[in-house]
Symmetry: C2
Subunit: 305 residues, 2 copies
């Protein structure tokens, strides 16, 4: 194994791609090359310590060690067409998409087969702001990075990409592709859908002025979630349809029970749900505290409702 | 007008009642008397600077200037029965409930008529923790306090209670009772219902372990909302049924449109909703910033979707 730093090409310098680049540079873990569809972005990235080198034309490049696809999920196929020549000599091909099944499908469709360097990935981190200027080298510290290695993924590829995410402070875990898409549909995609939907419902009320002016704590948390990038989320819902619809329908049916309970003044149903929810929340707080205190992921106690 | 401090009796020393007491004492705005159904609570309040004096028996009291009902909305009728003798000599009778129509009804039912000292109120402030030990004298600073004066409310009563909330840092505004209940149903009651419901739906998933362990940002914000006191929220939904059901049904119908858009891969619908939602959120961020910077409430620009 060479002791020289690997070269990492990050394609897409939005919040996640740019933060990863900045963190790799800050920890001296890699030499970072960067490309973006918007011509002005790589220049900003270079000037702000996100990358070491701008890539204007992929055809000018002969070889890189690690390729990170940090574009919206539906754009991955188009990017793959442009970088096909780099894949045979790459040690790792990875991505940072919120949906993994759809990424695997695009790689298979575009390359004909899954290359052994391909290890899909998803950092569980984000921020209210998006874009290269929001790049934060500490974004991944103490946050999970989920890898969903495939049958074809080589042990070397898994080891190298794990090493790089660990170097920027992430807690690397692995999970099957389908399970990832189900867990994320429940914990991230559905909450975002509800937040976007609620904020839009209220904004369209004819007399929304007071709603915004007098908005209380609950609404504030919802608007924070709804601040995320619309295009990214559009892609998420269209590429994780099945898992999202499945959990959305469970939610709708549970919410209809609460609606009925309110309508029929059934206080017992409301109390039961609210208490169960609060106890789940208390467990979740413990998990977060344990993780803050550096408790290993596998050592966290299970939840029983 | 006397220059001596008014006496304020706070009944119910939970988060809101205790924080108001502590803030009134800290700003030397009142002499604070406190009572609570749980016998150990007033003692804790006395020891931690929340109140000046414990009230064990309302029958021992002859006169107080201001009575603050800081109990869950459905408990107000029962409390009124015990303090009837104090109301004729009080300058102010107020409350801090999240629903105003139901409080007015209980006062009317219990006292036969609305006394001129009665000015319903609702501080738009809260915290993740509840109870006397979570008392925070800064809780109301830069937060709204909504008063919903009635026809019968005297100008003196309105002036005195406004003065006390202003003294603890709140921005006092007035609104009709019905409008308050509609605005709060939209901005607070519905978001809380969705949060309780989602956390419960996910906790009841057979394989919830990974859902909690891998929970992403979106879910975290929901669990924060679901941390609120179950009994208080039970009362809110049962006493603000009409307004809550009305906005809940609008939300359900809008959510069903998003469900259909995901199912039929209609990206345009998703993008439109997400962009509109993000633009509403951007407006809301401005409102919050203006308020942080001390811009007068009435000077905040309107929102046009």
């Amino acid at each position: 194994m060479s002791t020289s730093k690997p070269s990492v090409l990050i394609i897409g310098l939005g919040l996640i791609g740019a933060s990863f680049g900045k963190a790799l540079k800050a920890t001296e873990s890699a030499r970072v090359l960067g490309a973006d569809q918007q011509v002005e972005v790589p220049k900003i990235a270079l000037d702000s310590g996100v990358i070491d080198e701008v890539v204007d034309q992929f055809s000018n490049l002969e070889q890189v060690d690690v390729i990170v696809l940090a574009v919206p999920v539906k754009a991955i196929g188009a990017v793959l067409k442009q970088i096909k020549h780099l894949i045979p000599r790459a040690k790792v091909l990875t991505d940072v998409g919120s949906v993994k099944g759809a990424v695997v499908k695009q790689v298979e469709a575009e390359l004909g087969a899954i290359p052994s360097c391909f290890v899909p990935g998803h950092p569980i981190a984000g921020a209210e702001k998006s874009g290269v200027k929001a790049a934060n080298p500490h974004l991944f510290e103490k946050h999970l990075h989920i890898l969903t290695p495939l049958e074809q993924s080589s042990a070397d590829a898994i080891a190298l990409i794990s090493k790089l995410w660990t170097a920027v402070g992430a807690d690397v875990v692995t999970m099957p592709v389908d399970r990832h898409d189900e867990v994320l549909a429940a914990t991230s995609h559905l909450p975002h859908l509800l937040a976007f939907s609620l904020v839009d419902t209220l904004a369209r009320e004819s007399d929304n002025r007071e709603i915004f002016r007098y908005a209380a704590g609950g609404f504030r948390d919802f608007t924070r979630i709804a601040a995320s990038d619309p295009t990214m989320w559009h892609d998420v819902f269209l590429t994780n349809q099945d898992a999202t619809l499945k959990i959305l329908r469970k939610f709708q049916s549970d919410l209809a029970l609460l609606e009925q309970a309110i309508e029929s003044s059934d206080g017992d149903v409301l109390k039961t749900v609210f208490h169960r929810s609060k106890s789940a929340r208390d467990y979740f707080t413990q998990v977060l505290e344990q993780r803050e205190n550096g408790v290993a992921f596998s050592a966290i106690t299970d939840y029983t409702p």
